[in-house]
Symmetry: C2
Subunit: 752 residues, 2 copies
């Protein structure tokens, strides 16, 4: 079986880089001073031991972030970044994540390291046994587990190219065994470049057994490693299983998962399943946290690992496979314990490997980042460029703990800077980002079915719900949304249910409309084309109109549409009620773009000041939009006798827009608690009349202190079937209402 | 109270013509020879005595068509026309409606006239009493009841202009009383122009009591009239009620509704309610069927009645109101019994009235049809132009019965000519027209909320359902339709549920797509932009592709969209499965536009012949579209070595299109019974997987004789949330499946 030849086959080519990836990343929670957190794992994610995204590892302080299985590295990094954001938001503002594999200063007494307070007693028992076998300190080391699976199509195509194996599962297992043996032999290569645990903090070592800096404590005998008499063969899957089972039976391992190899072969839930199902994927466990990356690993590193695993598949292995692996252990131990700034004793071998990988990439026409090989070469020539080298050198400037604390704080800041954003998914709509953040926190699995279309598949246990745009769900009927989509129909349905809507007439002939002048002449009314399009053709008469003006308005409207509405103009303030399942969750008042004078600064300066708010941005990427100073704003200022360099009086509010849309710089003000229950009941009943479950319904209220039952107290303008949610969550003023969480609880009542 | 002045007030003007209308139209069912039908009222509408649209009057053969209350005469006529269509379709092809007020030849024995077989025994008893009082023959006369209500705004505005009445309800009642008294005084005017019962048929009169032709038997003492001692005063509502009640108490009337005045005042359910609620509207009962209109009344007639009622409101009445009414009775009797071709004795008065009405219309600036007054004048000058005159004259040519039979047949033909159309609503989508037709038949009340948007409100008893486009209902969830709307999401969901969909890859970068050539090179596949737009940028390779062709196809697709799909091409035949509530109701095979040769005619001739089918039309106004002979068709012919004047061999099928859309002249063939249950189960299960209740799902099947469980036996292309229904109902070949009825039964299970 000539894998080198097979990998170069044209049939294999399209699938060469197809793979599936997953990451588990551990990290210690610390307070803002960099001390190990004394708090428990956050309650809202602690509800479930088996949270799909955020769990605890050995200790209560040790967070483990878990990505879903991803088809691309882009996806993998998006998810890992997002889960990091959620971890930060969930820990709250008093905690952050320690960026190093080596833990921060540990408590003097080992028993003060708290074992994870899991619900499952078996899991707690296991951790207690680990404490006994290895001590709690060593278990506080964190790292990254990189799960990797070749694409099924790749293995299938390779299988078809050979005749040695008749059984596909056996072939597949052999593929993974070969890669594993080679990886174990060459793992020192990874340790050299990406090892990143040169120093330990106080109270890590019982005695000062390791006095000099190294490349990777974690990957050395001082880190996570089994007792010397644990040996497992990778010669065949049967041998691997038998060895592991025996180790457990002999009591050398508490459980199979205590086997701390740099590679773990994965199949079913336990090792014995490998015999039945074969190897499904492999787990690389020798990756130290990269302190210079917010998420603990760089994209280039992941790309390298992918390429390296392909190379391990391609490369011939030693004849005696157990020896081959054993040699690898020794080489790795040697490199791990080298000084971080020293050249490695295996420099020549490393050079050869880089060259060979480069050739392989070229031969197979694999797309690789431009910098990958250049960086490897540079790190090889200059050990201070390796992760361990860099970390050690920077730590020398003050100390590793201070460095780690300041890195943690940077990461903390960037997570809290724009809490409305979910890193990795910032191209999606804000409301969807926030809903996804909530879903990750609640442990609801997310699959993005169509990214541009904001189409999510959510799963909790076995139940699936699809959600689009954050609020389009299985709970609303199609017809209810169609009713809301059609303003005329909405009005008719509400009117028939006894709600006040603007009275009006629809005209299909201009003469018919003109004849009706006297119906409106002295009233406040609006003339508009039935299908409004960016406000074209709309005329508003707040105090009646002359016959000439009326005729003019009718003619203008008929230029836009063959149907024209003349509607009562409702005076008062417009409020947006967010209604979910017969409850008003939030009420928002929107005001046009404005600044408040201080008697000193110009309007331009006041606008610039207001725009500095991190909530303000452009193109709906933030909860509020910056205030513009364009033509429309200048005209509006002019009408009030202002220019952009006018200095408004102290306390004077200057409006820059007539319309109150948030999208043109308007302010959003939460007034949920200020509006009395009778208006909330109107909103709830109106949404129910439309047959809807989720709606943003707009009420005009003249005076909120007047009872809703008074004649003309309110009027309903429209109901929105896709109401903005982020504006309620991050209002300009007032309390944020996290309606996305309510949506999730509504579609998944079982999460409560 | 100067009503003349009040009506001229500017405030009144916009509301002058606002009113509400309703029509009840009786008519006898006859067979195609014009003989009184011997069948029962059609079963599907006989289920309910109180059917909102189609009931029985006195006799089992006497259909009463009832419009809903309408705000405009246009609406009124649309509904009446539609209900006529439905009445025809419901009676079936062996019956038609007699177009005259006077019944066709009656059975010799009076007891052979069958009283309506109503479920309500009270109603049957009432009819038996009528038989005793008046005889059954007289009850067989039919006519139109015209319900009229002034707009509330009109009466309210008039009320505001006076001070005589303090109580609005009293004022409103007085308005109707005045109009009624005047109408009764001047009813002869209506009888002259629109009376249309000059002759009776055999066995109508017991003895030949009326030997000469008249203007209106129905409006004379020979028609529907109470016994001489029935007198009711219109001087006040109290008097009116007391008189009526007394008549019943004395046994002169069986029930209040037996009072056969030309005007009935309407309030609540019974006359006594008038005391509490006042008069709400009035019912004109003296309108003979207009035999020259399919629906028994012309638009101009209705317009006249509206104007005449306004005139009656405007016109001063006589001082002694009971006398005034009594005089009217006498005048009407005189005019009704005039010879239909003679000038009326009241010609001068009539002239004066026309002139005054004309002046009124001008003074109040009322829009009136150009022809209305001209026609009245002409009819006054030339009695042969009146309805009675025309009918009499035409009857003289052969006999009235033959004339009526041939008119009935014309009406019958036009109803059956395009059974897929619902007259009055032909601007709406076909499927909606058919659904409305079904709703009328099932007695489900229809309100059109938005006509252009095909938005209906349906009501059965107290339950309301909204339906848009005939199949968008409350039964489907919003998210299910969104899943179906998004082809990518549909595919993913179906795939995750184990259904076969075209395998494929989505590419966002051109290089990535080009690299994947080997994945498809030898397969049948399609390259297409993710968002397809009229087929732009799609390339199909049925037998693999060269690298150059593949690259070209990828580039073309990327010109249309930033995402490109390369998808497996499924070979086989595409079938549309119409699924409703977990059942397959219909399966359609669509074939491209084609003609079958006869060895004699040219393609052009064959196309012309095929296009003659009344099912074929243009712009989706018919179930099938005409076959074009444009550029595309000519190119297609050329590719087969044909021209439009080629003569295909006998039995040869020549295709004029590649695509099988019905909209480009394709044929639709019902194959519901030919497809085996296992494929139907696939369709049902797939729709269920999408969470949908109503869907048109497209399956590609290679060979329908092969079990669906065979590998690759089928593939699902897409699911449509707004599937065309009319193509299943009126296919080109095969059995029509009236899926609209199933939709109605689904949203209103209680109608069964």
């Amino acid at each position: 079986m000539d894998l080198k030849k097979m990998l170069a086959d044209a049939h294999v080519k399209p699938y060469l880089l197809k793979a599936r990836f997953g990451i588990e990343k551990e990290g210690q929670r610390v307070d803002l001073a960099g001390n190990l957190a004394e708090t428990d794992h956050p309650e809202c994610i602690a509800k479930r031991d088996e949270h799909p995204y955020i769990q605890r590892d050995f200790a209560e302080t040790q967070m483990e972030l878990i990505t879903p299985i991803c088809e691309t590295l882009e996806d993998l990094f998006n998810y890992l970044s997002a889960i990091h954001d959620v971890a930060h938001l969930t820990m709250g503002k008093q905690e952050m994540l320690w960026p190093l594999s080596m833990p921060p200063q540990l408590p003097k007494k080992e028993e003060d390291i708290k074992i994870a307070k899991l619900k499952n007693f078996q899991s707690v028992l296991y951790r207690r046994s680990l404490s006994k076998s290895y001590g709690r300190r060593i278990q506080m080391i964190s790292g990254i587990h990189f799960n990797f699976e070749f694409a099924e199509e790749l293995i299938q195509t390779l299988f078809n190219l050979q005749s040695e194996f008749k059984n596909y599962r056996q072939f597949k297992t052999e593929i993974y065994l070969k890669v594993t043996r080679n990886y174990l032999h060459y793992q020192w290569f990874v340790t050299y470049f990406y090892g990143a645990s040169p120093l330990s903090e106080k109270n890590f070592f019982d005695n000062d057994c390791l006095t000099k800096p190294v490349r990777s404590i974690r990957n050395s005998k001082y880190g996570y490693s089994n007792h010397d008499d644990v040996h497992v063969s990778y010669s065949s899957i049967e041998k691997y299983i038998t060895d592991l089972t025996q180790m457990v039976e002999k009591g050398l391992l508490i459980e199979e998962k205590e086997f701390y190899s740099s590679v773990r072969l994965r199949g079913g839930r336990q090792v014995a399943d490998l015999a039945d199902h074969g190897v499904r994927y492999m787990e690389l466990r020798n990756i130290d946290l990269n302190p210079f990356e917010t998420i603990g690993i760089s994209y280039e590193q992941a790309e390298f690992l992918h390429l390296f695993l392909l190379y391990m598949l391609w490369k011939d292995e030693g004849n005696h496979c157990d020896e081959w692996v054993k040699e690898g252990d020794a080489l790795n131990e040697a490199v791990a314990l080298e000084h971080p700034l020293s050249h490695t004793q295996l420099e020549q071998d490393a050079n050869a490997i880089i060259k060979e990988m480069e050739q392989l990439a070229e031969a197979l026409n694999l797309p690789v980042s431009d910098t990958l090989f250049a960086n490897l070469k540079e790190m090889l020539q200059d050990p201070s460029k390796t992760l361990a080298g860099k970390l050690y050198q920077k730590s020398e400037e003050s100390c590793q703990a201070d460095l780690a604390t300041s890195i943690a704080k940077e990461n903390y800041k960037s997570a809290w800077d724009k809490p409305y954003q979910l890193t990795g998914f910032t191209d999606m709509e804000l409301s969807t980002q926030i809903l996804m953040s909530d879903a990750i926190q609640q442990g609801i699995k997310i699959e993005i079915l169509d990214r541009q279309d904001q189409f999510l598949k959510l799963q909790f246990n076995d139940r699936i719900e699809y959600v689009k745009n954050g609020n389009m769900t299985s709970k609303d009927s199609y017809i209810a949304t169609l009713i809301m989509e059609n303003k005329t129909v909405t009005k008719k349905v509400l009117q028939q249910h006894g709600f006040r809507v603007p009275a009006g007439e629809e005209f299909n002939r201009i003469e018919q409309a003109l004849r009706s002048y006297d119906m409106f002449s002295t009233k406040a009314f609006v003339v508009k084309p039935k299908s409004t399009n960016y406000g074209l053709g709309i005329s508003i008469f707040k105090d009646g109109a002359s016959r000439e003006d009326y005729e003019e308005a009718i003619k203008i409207a008929f230029q836009e549409d063959s149907s024209v509405l003349v509607e009562e103009f409702l005076s008062g303030t417009e409020y947006r009620f967010f209604v979910l399942d017969d409850k008003v969750l939030a009420i928002l008042l929107r005001t046009p773009a404005n600044v408040e004078g201080d008697g000193k600064r110009t309007i331009e300066e006041l606008v610039a000041e207001k725009n500095r708010d991190p909530l303000r941005g452009r193109d709906h990427r933030t909860p509020l939009e910056v205030i513009q100073l364009g033509e429309i704003e200048k005209l509006m200022l002019k009408a009030q006798g202002h220019k952009i360099d006018s200095i408004p009086k102290n306390g004077e509010t200057v409006y820059l827009r007539e319309n109150s849309n948030v999208s043109t710089g308007g302010d959003s003000i939460d007034v949920t608690d200020q509006i009395s229950d009778d208006y909330k009941k109107i909103a709830v009943d109106a949404v129910a009349a439309l047959g809807a479950k989720i709606s943003g319904i707009d009420l005009i209220i003249e005076d909120i202190t007047v009872p809703a039952s008074d004649k003309g107290a309110y009027g309903i303008i429209e109901a929105n079937f896709n109401p903005s949610m982020y504006m309620h969550i991050y209002p300009y003023k007032g309390e944020g209402r996290r309606v996305t969480t309510d949506i999730l609880r509504y579609v998944f009542p079982e999460i409560n």
